[in-house]
Symmetry: C2
Subunit: 460 residues, 2 copies
């Protein structure tokens, strides 16, 4: 019986295993992961930490036992330490016993994911300093918050996860400060759109410090009377108390490091697998690496940007699932393709929604792509309908009614998912001219008579 080995047990890995099983009932499928948990919705962790999702098990789509009933053997706490492509063997260590075994494979899917980029600052090992990547991280943060009731949290990095965690901390009544090294938060949106979010965060009592670098994290017994700490409280010496930046000291008893992720591609690289941009594994539209019988998928791998045709590293849960499925189907003898992404992203931050797709201004400039831009402010529903909120839509397109290049949305409830119309239009290569009379759904509880999308497009 042919053996498919999968390295990684989260989105891409388990998608690959499940799809391989549906494609080929005879295959022996073995999944190895160094984690204790599999098949969990990592994107849900901020909502588990906030308590909106009561138990972490809710995040688990399927258990090891459920996969076993599908004839998929999942080995948790097993680390793959080497891939030997010529011998078609992986070397696997049982992390509980330390024992090492060799496993022969016929096909291999690498879905090793990504790791949080931890800036090499002093104090990053203090109690109260966290990253958020997996269930273990999530459980640790929630327990720390419940047990120590932190008063002041600093989030280092203002991307999606940082912002979602700002919401989480805010819900606990923690005073939140976001420190971002770049001149703006949400660096994948343009500054004008990010500014709307920034203003909103400030209005909600969240401090935003941009263009500011964190130098170190500091613990110690000094008493701090800012941010509601009383001088009488005594902290253990290994517990975080301050974030030191270029511009000052921020009192903090909770820090989240969320400056980005790096692909876990070392194992692949050592095996002679070619890497691409951002040192992520280079794959084609069938998820094939440069080596025969070896596929890669998910946050360890690259993809193609369908607007530019470029190889890009945009790790996203939804892409990981699609790539995993594609890799699994092909590894099992099927014929599937995943052509790429258009760079869609979305996040909710308290009552504001932000979303983007395609190229932003900087991305156009970096490529010397001539573009025009329009930005509008409108209502999410008919202006007279209760609960109508504000929405800002920004559209980028080639000059003179040419091809759509990208869009960004910031607004209240009902704003964010409107980005999907732009995402579909980008995939289909639409021009502004083709989009001007879109027959978008209208009724007062859903949209103004001209949907904000149409208002924006008709500015061109």
């Amino acid at each position: 019986m042919a053996i498919l080995a999968v390295i990684g047990g989260v989105a891409a890995g388990m998608s690959a295993a499940a799809k391989a099983r549906r494609t080929n009932a005879d295959l022996e499928i073995r999944v190895y992961t160094d984690e204790a948990h599999i098949s969990y919705g990592a994107c849900g962790l901020p909502y588990y930490i906030s308590g909106e999702i009561e138990k972490e098990t809710r995040l688990m789509a399927r258990s090891v036992e459920q996969f076993a009933t599908l004839g998929i053997k999942v080995f948790t706490r097993y680390r793959v330490e080497e891939i030997r492509p010529r011998d078609q063997i992986i070397q696997v260590r049982n992390l509980n016993t330390g024992e090492m075994t060799e496993v022969a494979y016929d096909q291999l899917v690498i879905a090793t994911g990504a790791s949080v980029l931890v800036p090499p600052v002093e104090g990053r090992d203090l109690t109260g300093v966290f990253k958020l990547r997996n269930v273990v991280d999530g459980v640790a943060i929630r327990r720390y918050i419940e047990e120590t009731k932190p008063k002041a949290g600093v989030i280092v990095g203002g991307g999606y996860i940082g912002l979602e965690m700002a919401e989480t901390m805010h819900r606990y009544g923690i005073k939140v400060t976001i420190v971002e090294m770049a001149p703006q938060i949400v660096p994948n949106m343009d500054k004008d759109m990010a500014q709307i979010l920034e203003n909103y965060l400030i209005s909600q009592g969240i401090e935003v410090r941009t263009a500011e670098k964190v130098l170190s994290l500091r613990g110690g017994r000094e008493s701090i009377d800012q941010a509601g700490f009383s001088g009488e409280e005594v902290f253990p010496p290994d517990r975080l108390q301050q974030v030191i930046t270029e511009r000052g000291i921020i009192p903090a008893d909770l820090v989240l490091l969320s400056v980005g992720v790096v692909p876990n591609s070392q194992l692949a690289e050592k095996a002679g697998i070619e890497l691409g941009v951002r040192r992520a594994i280079r794959i084609n539209s069938r998820m094939e690496t440069n080596l025969p019988r070896i596929y890669a998928a998910g946050d360890c791998a690259n993809t193609t940007h369908l607007v530019t045709g470029e190889e890009v590293y945009i790790p996203m849960g939804t892409t990981a699932n699609k790539q995993g499925r594609t890799a699994g189907e092909n590894a099992a003898g099927g014929k599937a393709e995943f052509k790429g992404v258009v760079g869609t992203g979305i996040a909710k931050v308290l009552d504001l929604e932000i979303a983007r797709t395609g190229l932003n201004e900087r991305e156009c400039q970096d490529r010397d792509l001539p573009y025009e831009v329009r930005i509008i402010k409108a209502w999410t529903k008919a202006g007279y309908y209760p609960g109508a909120g504000q929405i800002h839509v920004k559209v980028l397109a080639q000059k003179s009614g040419g091809r759509l290049l990208g869009a960004q949305i910031v607004g209240q409830a009902g704003s964010g998912k409107r980005i999907d119309v732009f995402a579909a239009a980008l995939t289909l290569g639409a021009t502004i001219e083709q989009l001007k009379d879109l027959d978008l759904a209208y009724a007062p509880p859903f949209a103004p008579v001209y949907d904000p999308i149409l208002v924006a497009i008709n500015q061109f």
Copy 2:
């Protein structure tokens, strides 16, 4: 100075006037309407009646005075009684004085709208029997509800307006019965999708009687003890008490007749203007009628269905605005086109959202179009995220991954506007193959990792 005359002061008419002004600052623009109100959002009337919108003036986008400042003269309560194309003259009656005048025009936009189709049943003039088309209707219904506190309402016709008014009556605590002659409610959706809504309405205590024809409406002094009427209440003889159908008697002290609308095209027809399907005014993509200098737009006119290329009569507020704008621009010397619609519609009924676009099964069958259909049930958000609701998505496409033909959605909050992705895809002539990997926005508060749209499309 050239004169543009516009007949009609709501969506299409006022859009035409406003756009003509923006296109040509020199034009004399005169708008005639037999109504007292102009530029109102008729689609908002159910929410005005429910009291969610406090005053009817909230529905008015702009006043006569505001249009005057733009140099647009609006004549309310003036009825255009004749168009004399050869003389370029319209005959206009002042409805307050009865006085008749002749107005010369250089360009004419006909935006006379549609009228409620009132079935010729006995008793349709009883107190308590209403139609809903304009502000006067809306004010009358709300006053009647507030003053007489009706206990049992019957809605004749289960289309969008009937359904929205079912919500409105239900909010007042009125026992609601929908009587629909067709075998299903929402006749522009397929029966399987309509059934989901029907089951929901029943679960909310709203009675749904399909395939049942109303024969007459009856007043009188008989005492009715069904539906919470007590035998001691005495009703005036001209007040509605019963709806008589083929299958029985429904006690009712409020009836809404909402079986459909017919285009107000008699004036045009008398002037020699060609009508098309459903006796609506036939226009081209520039909104030109068969007569020179005469345009038509809105609910009195037809449009083109972009999926079939056929002339269709689908009166919608959003189309009226677009057609009006196009007519106004062209009448003012510009060059605009409105190519048509894809048949998108949406409505909210209590906590359920229904939406459709493109062709449904019956429409495919009527045209001998071979089609395949897939229907799925999914979550609106990540399954573990609080407030995730159910969504049903149905997709129609040509056989073997061919062209998308239509889609229907029924589901909880966040479902309906997803139809816009399908509407855009239809406009762009997308195939199922092109849509399989759409990069739709994903984060737990917005969607499962595979958006329900993708789940449905990937069934093909």
